[in-house]
């Protein structure tokens, strides 16, 4: 069980956010291409920071609490997945807040500003 410690946290985040896709219809999973670009533009740079920091000795991972798969850069599989799961949860939360509140996030097509919005 100990080797599941890290992956359990990732699964928790995925399970906790999945209802947003289904119940609120935020359609982030359905826009996989756009999300893949987020992983490339935001997740990857932070993953590279992680690789550099690990090599510099800022932090290290307890391999007995990971699945034991080490990917390029010397990071455990879970640590690489972190940079997919966290951007996913972030984007899903933003879309869920938009769906519930009606507030703008900045990618709305141009149209007369609705009442209660603070412009762009």
């Amino acid at each position: 069980m100990r080797e599941l410690t890290y992956v359990a946290m990732l699964v928790f985040v995925l399970v906790a956010t999945l209802p947003l896709e289904v119940l609120l219809g935020i359609r982030v999973y359905a826009r996989a291409r756009r999300f893949a670009l987020v992983v490339l533009c935001a997740g990857l740079p932070f993953a590279l920071w992680d690789v550099a920091a690990t090599h510099a000795g800022h932090w290290r991972f307890d391999s007995t609490q990971t699945l034991g798969v080490v990917l390029p850069g010397g990071l455990p599989l879970e640590e690489w997945m972190f940079f997919v799961v966290v951007p996913l949860a972030s984007v899903m939360t933003l879309e869920a807040v938009r769906a519930v509140s009606g507030w703008t996030v900045g990618d709305e097509p141009d149209r007369p500003a609705a009442a209660g919005e603070e412009g762009r």
Binding site: M9, L23, H58, P87
Partner: protein, 130 residues
């Protein structure tokens, strides 16, 4: 470079990216701060899981010292950067026309099911009749 320096630099780069480079200006939006309040709660929760169990171990020489629970405060800054940049790039690519609004999508059946289950909770379709 210590983690502290890197984390502060990360925040600065993130702010410039959002406000100047991408001009997504998420940091000026209510929707962002409401989202961040939710995300940061879960970040503290999940990071405590990892740090209290020692899944991630920090070099004391690389960090400033103060911790939130078991996590060095720098983790909060690292997380802030990752979260803001993820959201900013999502908005930016949407603006550029990459899957900007929900399209027909792969799972209309799921959607109908959700619609039945949750009734008016489900947001009305954004598509306008043409």
């Amino acid at each position: 470079m210590r983690y502290t320096t890197a984390a502060l630099l990360g925040v600065a780069v993130t702010v410039v990216l959002d406000l100047v480079v991408l001009r997504t200006r998420l940091l000026t939006r209510k929707a962002f701060w409401a989202s961040y309040a939710i995300v940061v709660f879960f970040q503290l929760l999940t990071n405590e899981w990892l740090t209290s169990r020692g899944v991630v171990l920090y070099d004391e020489a690389a960090i400033w010292g103060p911790r939130i629970g078991h996590a060095p405060v720098e983790d909060l800054l690292f997380g802030f950067g990752l979260v803001v940049q993820s959201m900013a790039w999502w908005v930016w690519w949407g603006r550029r026309g990459v899957q900007p609004t929900p399209g027909p999508g792969p799972s209309p059946a799921l959607r109908r099911l959700a619609g039945r289950a949750s009734g008016r909770l489900t947001r009305p379709a954004r598509r306008t009749p043409s």
